[in-house]
Amino acid sequence: MKQSLLRYLPLLLLAIAWEIVARFELVSTSALPPLTEVISAGVAMVKDGELISNGTSSLYRAGAGLALAILIGGTVGIAMAWWKPVNVLVAPIVEIFYPLPKSALIPVTVIWLGFGDGSKILLIFLGCMLPVTIGAFNGARSSEQVLVWSARSMGASRLRMLWDVVVPSAMPELLNGVRTALALSFILLVSSELIVAQKGFGYLIGFTGANGNYDAMYAVVLTVAFLGFAADRIYLQITRRALAWRD
């Protein structure tokens, strides 16, 4: 505990530096308001409910998009590894879409589904699916032949074996893919809300910034940064527990 606190000491130094730079007006306060004022603006936004209501809709969008990506992406990846026809059909599509910057799809998803939740969920789903698919595919392909045979010789049907052997074999790489997807979901969430939205973290950043309310803008940026960090830490803890059998 003490060690991990010590590890984050540089963050505290950064915060102090921020405060000093802003207080002594080494840069314009509109470009960088003092941290203490950013925090009090944040507290005010929590109190009047603005941060919470926008945050809730953002987390709903990210959560729904990510959940769909994991479910469908994982299934597609495992199916690709296990049935050649699926691989032949899907692999070229994955290859073409993988390098595409998914933020380029923001206007497309808006045309399809409008300004609300639907377009954000679709965008996050599309962006997050491929890392999960690729992780699941590579993981499932690495399932050992003898484990498959063992399960079959103990009376498992093919489908049962897929669930009992191939899915757990794919798990370490699949979970790695999900971690990438988790980070991507925050990026896509905020960028899509910045461009077209009526609520959400990204909308709030854009709105407060456009109105010159920089304390509030920074407060939202910090909130998103913290949530992203916390989500990643929690996720790491969960995977560590789920993969405890490895060491």
Binding site: S153, G155, V165, R246
Partner: protein, 263 residues
């Protein structure tokens, strides 16, 4: 003998098709009959197709020419009547010792209480009490193989297929496991087909040793090795030593041929 044969292997050929390169004849007209509760070793140099033959009996590879019959039925895929133990254990790494042993019992649809009890019985049989909640990554090679054997025995297959099961173990552990297998087999007689390239192991464990030729694999000779295996000084027993010698001479030629082909 022929009438009582439980496993009939009748003129089986097998072509191995590597992903690249040309196909290789792995088994050439292999015929063998194994009686109920008999312990047969398949002995031969590496690459002679002895494991391939075992996988064909297991139903993991398709029989393309010839036939393999179990109790008069053609083999069509793997099944719980033929349990298998692999050289590298093939335990599910995400399941504990208990979980691994329970798996097959679950697949057989055994009621929960019964299978929990049966799993514990087999954990005790192979001397792993106290380790039932360990994951395979926490066990030594010998303990992993005990788990794998318990897992296979627990579902009570008629036929036990063993693919160099002690090949990955150190010499001392291997010796212990051999006598333990013999003890277990004498208590719960099953038909065993045991693949090995260790002559002494084959003669010690098996009733008959089928010596296979270098690739393409054929059954060259069958050596009768049925005698009292419970003699504590068996390894100095004159009859045992002679049998090992006789078998070794048969294998040696093939091993030299196999070497020649590779280089």
């Amino acid at each position: 003998m022929a009438a009582a044969a439980q496993i009939v292997i009748d003129r089986v050929n097998h072509l191995y098709r590597p992903p690249r390169g040309r196909e290789v004849l792995a088994l050439d007209q292999v015929s063998l009959e194994v009686a109920n509760r008999e312990f047969v070793a398949l002995l031969g140099p590496s690459g002679c197709g002895k494991s391939t033959l075992l996988y064909l009996i297991g139903g993991f590879l398709p029989v393309e020419t010839g036939a393999i019959l179990i109790d008069g039925q053609n083999v069509a895929g793997p099944g719980p009547d033929r349990g298998i133990v692999f050289q590298h254990f093939a335990l599910f790494p995400w399941k504990t010792v208990r979980g691994n042993i329970l798996y097959g019992l679950e697949r057989q649809g055994m009621p929960k209480e019964e299978r929990e009890k049966r799993a514990m019985d087999f954990i005790e049989l192979v001397g792993l009490a106290g380790f039932e909640d360990s994951y395979p990554s926490q066990l030594s090679g010998g303990m992993k193989q005990r788990t794998a054997i318990a897992r296979t025995l627990a579902i009570d297959p008629k036929i036990l297929l063993m693919d160099e099961p002690f090949g990955a173990l150190d010499a001392q552990t291997r010796g212990l496991m051999q006598s333990e297998l013999l003890r277990i087999w004498q208590r719960t007689p099953k038909t065993v087909i045991f693949v090995t390239h260790d002559v002494q192991e084959a003669v010690y464990l098996a009733d008959r040793v089928a010596v296979m030729s270098a690739r393409p694999g054929r059954i060259k000779t069958i050596v009768d090795t049925k005698f009292d295996k419970n003699d504590p000084d068996i390894f100095k027993n004159k009859f045992f030593v002679e049998k090992v010698d006789e078998t070794w001479n048969l294998v040696k030629e093939e091993a030299i041929k196999a070497q020649g082909k590779r280089s």
